[in-house]
Symmetry: C2
Subunit: 117 residues, 2 copies
DNA sequence: GACATATGTGCCCATATGGGCATATAATCA
DNA sequence: TGATTATATGCCCATATGGGCACATATGTC
């Protein structure tokens, strides 16, 4: 079984660099597909497909039915992600502490015995 | 071309629910693979593979070479993600405003003309 | 209606993925 | 050394992915 469908999970949706770029561009203001495609130097087709994914997970909204459809940001779906990742905030300062400890150990003993990538 | 390799991008690495669970469990303390596998009710093999990915993107460190290898959190790789997503923070409060505007429009005019999923 | 523009979708392909399973590798102990 | 435990990896498969391309669809304009 491959990974869960992109269209059902915001984590998965923003795993795609292009889609992150799209969201970033949409911070400014709403844009039609062609505009977006031009801005990101991708095919309208590609843009449309990515937007479809973003729409399905609710990170993007469409306004106006017609020749021009304006895509706009709906960032509320990013909130859970921010919260989940934020739950680790205490740990990335702690990492530095641990690293320091480790470096000190290295300097004291000659044999680290330990960390591998 | 499919999506960028999971092993080169933290965004992609945490797109997998199991890996998120692993990271969450590792918040508590370091754990050997079997321990983790038991905690998450997955095969040691599976756990090992996910840990390999997390190791490659640097979200996890291994300590101790031997029968037991302790996996520990290295959350520093989550920081960029937190920052990227945090860049949208202003927008998910704004979303509510826009939604309210939309609802008001709906109540006034009878024809929304607009938002589609 | 005919046409141009804007957007969405279907089909095909190459590729990465996650899981299952068997097996390899590593370390500890009798 | 042989056995046991712990962990990693290789192979295979089903599936989802992203892109290219052609085409369908929708809208606006003449």
């Amino acid at each position: 079984m491959p990974r869960a469908a992109t269209t059902s999970d915001a984590f998965n949706a923003i795993a795609e660099p292009q889609r992150r770029r799209i969201l970033t561009v949409l911070k400014g203001h709403e844009r039609p597909v062609n505009d977006l495609a031009r801005a990101l130097r991708i095919t309208p087709s590609r843009a449309s497909k990515h937007l479809r994914v973003l729409r399905k997970v609710g990170l993007v909204r469409v306004r106006g039915v017609g020749q021009h459809r304006l895509y706009g940001l709906d960032a509320s779906g990013l909130k859970p992600i921010h919260e989940w990742v934020g739950g680790f905030e205490q740990f990335w300062s702690e990492s530095f502490d641990r690293l320091n400890e480790y470096v000190q150990e290295l300097q004291q003993k000659e044999n680290p015995g330990g960390i591998r990538s």
